[in-house]
Symmetry: C2
């Protein structure tokens, strides 16, 4: 993994991946006690940064390999990112999802042109199904984060942050990134190491799912006790990856951890002050900037809103409780 | 009013007014039956396009005039746009609002640095208060739409539409614009006349407040029977302006009219598919693209979301009824 791979991914992405805006609001600055700059990846195609990694991985394949198709395991943002990237390349995509995944996510992934294969979590082995389909059809597996071309794609977000921050005169800042398996966090960290060395990435996680924060403290890969059921489950993974963790360890500052209530408050603030829709997992970095300012340094802080794929009832709940 | 004024406004705006993104979603395309491109002005500073006009008008003043301050009558988006533009110029702003305006709007306008002067609608004369303050302090009145420098500022949105559409290969399209007094609509129409002559602007209004559509039919300025109380009241004015109407008449196609239910559906679609917050008045053009496709021509349609300043209860209601 290096900056050359990220720059190559950016070249392949030009004209296809959206350059999302860097937003701000004087009202957020006031809450945070410093200037807050928000990289709104919820405005990316398919509503999350995952399209960057999906595009990068699909576009990096040799044409004859790509033509056979790609496969991914996901019921969430990675599924949609890979599905749309494949469709835009005219390549088939198979997405393997649990049969109890929300109907809406299954429908959305199908609507983006993917073949959705459902399996029963209780009785079937997801990996075995994937291996069989891949062997039969010659599909290429696209992993959600521990995959160099996926990390390179997420890193294009970091290139944009470096450019957009420079446009507003910022070269020194902490950059708070919503962190699951660490694909976005490590990609941004690598991009900023090369393009904006005065910036330091801080991974942000929800309470109870702080595997990365703990791994950075202990110096080895730690696991979450549970990996589902939380408000922020879109960004929850069992542990940081084999490829991502060494990058995080080398480049990132201490992790930050936020509560579910802080996440809902941040979603309401993004609604009221930025006019964007943040999903819970996508709001953890903004929550840290707004409510954990004592753990952050500098006059400016940059945060990612990593996605906006939230079901309406959860969003309504955030507004009802904290929307003013 | 001409393109030179708009280009001069764009030069003054560079680095201060946000270049908002042109968004799209395959899901919206499917509903509309054509490709839909959304100019997301809800992501502009202060949450609406009004900041463009405010910036243009304040920045066009001679420094000694500007230093005395500006004044505006508004309880809504124009107030916030003028207040922030003045603050960013280091100039005082006085905003005159009815004393029964929502607390939140008064507080927001004050938080943006403006002096808010409240008046009693039943017993006091707004214009007399404004005239007295202006005379005493030498304030310059910034009208909300029927003012050349304000129209020039809104026209910068049209310059961006022409550029961004060309970037995705579009030179022929109808451009649906949320229309109140016609400042944004006429500004965009003038910009596109010069920069993208294959495009045609269509004003869009809410049912019951279709003064512009009726004026375009009759060939003279028509008035709304009522001008308050509607869901979309942010874009409701008594009639098109003396300056804006002749421009609309010369350059715009027939007006489109949408129902309140269509507006709420469009707000829910923008939430689910674009991850942006649209206010009711800001969603009328998207509603027309999604639900009145039979009245539109072409493979592509461009729409503005003109603002996102909606109170949480109304947004929650849109999601509860139509958010899936």
């Amino acid at each position: 993994m290096n900056i050359d791979m990220i720059e190559a991914a950016a070249e392949r992405a030009a004209g296809h991946v959206r350059r999302t805006p860097l937003l701000s609001s004087p009202f957020l600055d006031e809450i945070a006690g410093r200037r807050v700059w928000v990289k709104a990846e919820c405005l990316q195609h398919t509503g999350s940064f995952k399209f960057r990694g999906g595009w990068s991985a699909v576009s990096a394949l040799a044409p004859d390999v790509r033509a056979k198709g790609v496969i991914a395991f996901s019921s969430g943002n990675h599924a949609q990112g890979v599905a749309l990237a494949a469709r835009m390349h005219g390549a088939p995509a198979v997405i393997i999802m649990p049969s109890d995944a929300p109907r809406m996510k299954i429908d959305n992934t199908r609507a983006l042109g993917a073949e959705v294969v459902l399996y029963d979590r209780a009785t079937e082995d997801r990996d075995a199904i994937g291996a069989r389909l891949s062997a039969e059809r010659g599909l290429t597996l696209i992993k959600p984060f521990d995959e160099p071309q996926v990390i390179a794609g997420q890193g294009t977000c970091g290139l944009e942050i470096a450019e957009q921050a420079a446009e507003v005169g910022i070269t020194q800042a902490q950059v708070l990134v919503c962190c699951g398996g660490g694909g976005l966090t490590s990609g941004i960290a690598l991009a900023l190491e090369a393009k904006a060395p005065g910036m330091r990435v801080r991974p942000v996680e929800p309470e109870g799912y702080d595997d990365t924060a703990r791994s950075l403290v202990s110096g080895q890969i730690e696991r979450n006790a549970v990996t589902s059921g939380g408000l922020c489950d879109a960004i929850v993974t069992p542990s940081p990856g084999q490829i991502t963790f060494p990058i995080l360890q080398r480049l990132c500052g201490p992790g930050l951890v936020v509560s579910d209530e802080e996440v809902l408050r941040a979603m309401a603030a993004a609604f009221a002050r930025l006019k964007v829709v943040a999903e819970p997992g996508g709001a953890v970095a903004l929550a840290a900037a707004l409510f954990h300012g004592d753990r952050i340094e500098g006059d400016d802080v940059i945060v990612t809103i990593s996605g906006g794929n939230v079901d309406a009832p959860i969003f309504r709940d955030a507004l009802e409780r904290f929307g003013g």
